[in-house]
């Protein structure tokens, strides 16, 4: 299978952040219907190997496109801007202060309601962050700025996962 084509081309989608999730899902099903190993159980070994590789490629691309943060990072990399989350750890002061305030709020929260309130605030902020990221990628095409926004959102997502864990722990 052609390794050179990017994930968007593989799914017949335009290379941009805004994405029609229904189209993505439909296309994944159509692609797997053609290449999934189940279609080649009775086939020769070469065809079975090729099917396996193609199905893996479709699944990988689907996972990358489906997740907004991974999709954004992928667009930056296609534009030649590396995310390099490990090397680029410097964050704006304002962002760090917001992070610290959130962490403290989570540490202080004792009831499910308090955690829920924090989760709602976080969700609202996160939505704004993604709207900004969409503008950077699709309108301004400023991939350096988008990469910085992706790095910041990686922290936000990690924190959101912690909030979610805490909420689940309190529910039981």
């Amino acid at each position: 299978m052609t390794p050179a084509i990017d994930d968007f081309a593989l799914f017949g989608l335009e290379r941009r952040f805004a994405l029609d999730r229904t189209a993505l899902d439909q296309c994944r099903r159509a692609l797997q219907a053609e290449v999934h190993p189940d279609r080649f159980v009775a086939a020769d070994a070469a065809a079975r190997r090729a099917a396996m590789q193609s199905a893996v490629r479709v699944n990988e691309a689907y996972a990358r496109l489906k997740d907004p943060l991974r999709r954004a990072a992928y667009l930056c990399e296609l534009a030649g801007v590396r995310i390099g989350a490990e090397e680029n750890t410097a964050m704006p002061l304002e962002f760090l202060q917001r992070q610290m305030a959130w962490r403290e709020a989570l540490d202080d929260a004792v009831s499910a309601d308090e955690v829920q309130a924090l989760a709602s605030d976080l969700e609202a902020e996160r939505r704004l962050d993604y709207e900004r990221l969409a503008r950077s990628l699709d309108e301004d095409r400023d991939f350096a700025r988008a990469a910085q926004e992706v790095r910041a959102l990686m922290f936000v997502e990690r924190f959101a996962a912690d909030v979610d864990d805490r909420r689940a722990a309190l529910e039981h």
Binding site: T2, R29, A30, R39, A43, D44, A45, A46, A50
Partner: protein, 619 residues
């Protein structure tokens, strides 16, 4: 040179040969085999008209083996040689086996890896015992069709880990069953249910069997069954309720069941009581302990108090899966119940309360898994027109590797769609290091000690360089059966490092070969005949597959490419006719290699077709 025979485009190479493919539900308490006949999936009965084969195997002195109801009769009188619920031992070490499941067996102590049992027929692994059950079902199916089987789809709990899946696959091999695919039990149930009711949307499948609990969320869209998330507990089931009820009943009666036979008898009596209590509010518990008759009345409320903690554990697992899938309860269009234990009214109530809707139960919970497996087997064997049924499954548990300090580095996240592949780079720790060991674990916890050890992979042949200079790329691949394989290569010197696998709880290839040998009574002639027969079957399948591929997509080839394939096919036909096993195996490989590029071209064509189809749909 022999010419390839090419059939009409679109037609199967041999239109008269219907491939006999079956679905097998290899369950903890009972097993079934089903097949699609005249377009309808149905369970196949044995000679006496029984559909259900109790998953029990009894080894008699003198080499005779009983399977099913005949074996079950020995569960109380001869517990050491009568193995029930062997599924709970698959891919498990001695430390993993719950005390309840240990009752009565003579385990080989201090043996590493998968448990072994001492029986009248010698030491047996759970894989060999399961193979007896599979072989019995295979025989039943072959008698029904009066033909050899093309292959089987065998179901496993969605939450089975790699060692448990591999053990099931090995059992199929020992039973002489060509395995088409391992599929998850809840997925099989959804398939039977979804095709029967023409359902669309998001469904939850709650599957509480004898020994395992699974919960899966599936999206059904026009024949495509997509697992969104799955979870459960591979050591929680109706057996545990039976054991708890038996303990309670004996305590109330003031008797102590010391012997293995007593405990087995009490557990079987408890199961009967539990089943009766699904229909009535009180039922009798009766068994004989140490020759003394025990009889008492159990209220349904008492059973429910005993079962409550176990049912609660299932509800916690359901909530976790829904959270994993990032869906709201309200988005779920229906709930399907599978497994005999879901007959308990309290289980139905708990599921109803959680989802806020009545669960669907219109298919027999004992049969639905086998029926779904049969539908998938029929589709995989190519008996359907292509394109009407497709399963997209996920890996149930994360895969990771051990890093410094006994921590787990996750390589493949749980609920990733399969097949999948992830590459990870490693480097050496010391100057001149030429080998390294990679410990692969499965589970969701951060410490290696809390996860399941799958295997240790040893890489050899790394070029001796200064510490940290070698770049070893290790690729983890999970296939469509949910089974892991590992490959490694050194990037800087471009050498292929060799990988040897030491499964933690599985059988090595050598052991499987040895067991295969034993099952043929050590007769080397039999082994050789079987190997030749298998090579010939492989040759026939490959020739048919390639004829089919050429008929469908032959125009993708240049005349040179086509000539090369036809040449290799001709050589395979000659080798096959000469009944020379090694020549057949060589020619098989040559023909397979000759079609490599063609296969890749065909995949590309499929992808283009998928994209074109979608554009038409959009219009």
């Amino acid at each position: 040179m022999a010419l390839l025979q090419i059939s009409e485009p679109g037609a199967s190479p041999d239109p008269h040969a219907r491939r006999h493919a079956v679905g097998i539900d290899l369950g903890t308490t009972h097993s079934l085999v089903a097949a699609v006949r005249s377009g309808v999936a149905e369970c196949l009965p044995d000679r006496d008209g029984r559909l259900i084969l109790p998953s029990a195997v009894r080894y008699l002195p003198g080499g005779k083996t009983l399977v099913g109801d005949e074996a079950l009769a020995g569960a109380v009188t001869d517990p050491k040689n009568t193995v029930v619920s062997v599924k709970r031992l698959m891919g498990r070490g001695l430390d993993d086996v719950a005390p309840d499941a240990r009752r009565g067996y003579d385990f080989v102590e201090a043996s590493p890896g998968m448990v072994r049992l001492r029986t009248a027929a010698g030491v047996k692994s759970p894989v060999e015992i399961s193979a007896e059950i599979l072989a019995t079902l295979r025989q039943r199916a072959e008698d029904t069709f009066d033909a050899e089987l093309y292959g089987a789809v065998i179901t496993v709990p969605a939450y089975f880990d790699d060692a448990q899946r591999q053990a099931t696959k090995d059992a199929a091999e020992l039973a002489g069953l060509p395995l088409l695919r391992l599929i998850s039990e809840p997925t099989a149930a959804a398939l039977a249910y979804g095709l029967d009711n023409a359902s669309e949307g998001l469904y939850a499948v709650y599957d509480l069997g004898g020994g395992t609990f699974d919960i899966s969320l599936l999206r059904m869209t026009r024949g495509v069954f997509e697992v969104v998330a799955t979870g459960g507990d591979s050591a929680l089931g109706g057996d545990d309720i039976d054991a708890a009820l038996a303990d309670r009943a004996l305590a109330r009666a003031g008797v102590v069941g010391d012997t293995a036979g007593d405990r087995r008898g009490a557990a079987l009596a408890a199961r009967a009581t539990k089943e009766a209590l699904s229909a009535t509010s009180q039922a009798e518990f009766a068994c004989s302990i140490a020759g003394k008759q025990v009889s008492l009345v159990v209220e349904r409320t008492e059973l429910e108090a005993i079962a409550r903690p176990l049912v609660d554990r299932t509800i916690v697992a359901v909530r976790r899966v829904i959270r994993d899938a990032k869906v709201a309860m309200a988005e779920i269009d229906g709930v399907v119940l599978v497994g005999g234990s879901t007959r308990m009214p309290m289980v139905r109530r708990a599921v109803h309360d959680l989802f806020g809707r009545a669960p669907l139960t219109n298919l027999d919970p004992d049969q639905v898994v086998a029926l779904g497996a049969a539908l998938q087997a029929d589709a995989l064997a190519g008996n359907h027109g292509a394109g009407d049924l497709l399963l997209l499954d996920v890996i149930p548990l994360s895969l990771g590797i051990e890093t410094m300090g006994g921590l787990v580095e996750r390589v493949v996240e749980r609920n990733s769609p399969i097949p999948t592949s992830r590459a990870q780079e490693f480097t050496t720790f010391q100057d001149g290091q030429t080998a390294m060991s990679i410990h692969v674990v499965q589970g969701e916890r951060d410490l290696v000690a809390d996860c399941r050890s799958l295997a240790r992979f040893e890489l050899r042949g790394i070029p001796p360089l200064v510490a940290g200079a070698a770049r070893i790329k290790v690729t983890f691949t999970v296939d469509a059966d949910g089974l892991l394989s590992v490959a490694a290569s050194e990037e800087t010197a471009a050498v292929e490092a060799t990988v040897t696998v030491k499964p933690s709880y599985g059988l090595s290839d050598d052991e499987v070969t040895r067991m295969l040998g034993e099952s043929f009574g050590h007769a080397e002639a039999d082994m050789a005949a079987r190997a030749l027969r298998e090579a010939q079957v492989d040759a026939d399948r490959l020739l048919a597959a390639i004829a089919g591929a050429l008929a469908a997509d032959g125009e993708l080839l240049s005349s040179d490419q086509r000539a090369a394939i036809e040449q290799a096919a001709g050589e395979l036909r000659v080798a096959r006719a000469a009944a020379d096993r090694f020549a057949i195996e060589r020619s098989l490989k040559a023909l397979s290699d000759a079609t490599e590029e063609f296969a890749a071209e065909r995949m590309n064509r499929g992808i283009k077709r998928a994209l074109a189809g979608r554009r038409i749909e959009d219009l």
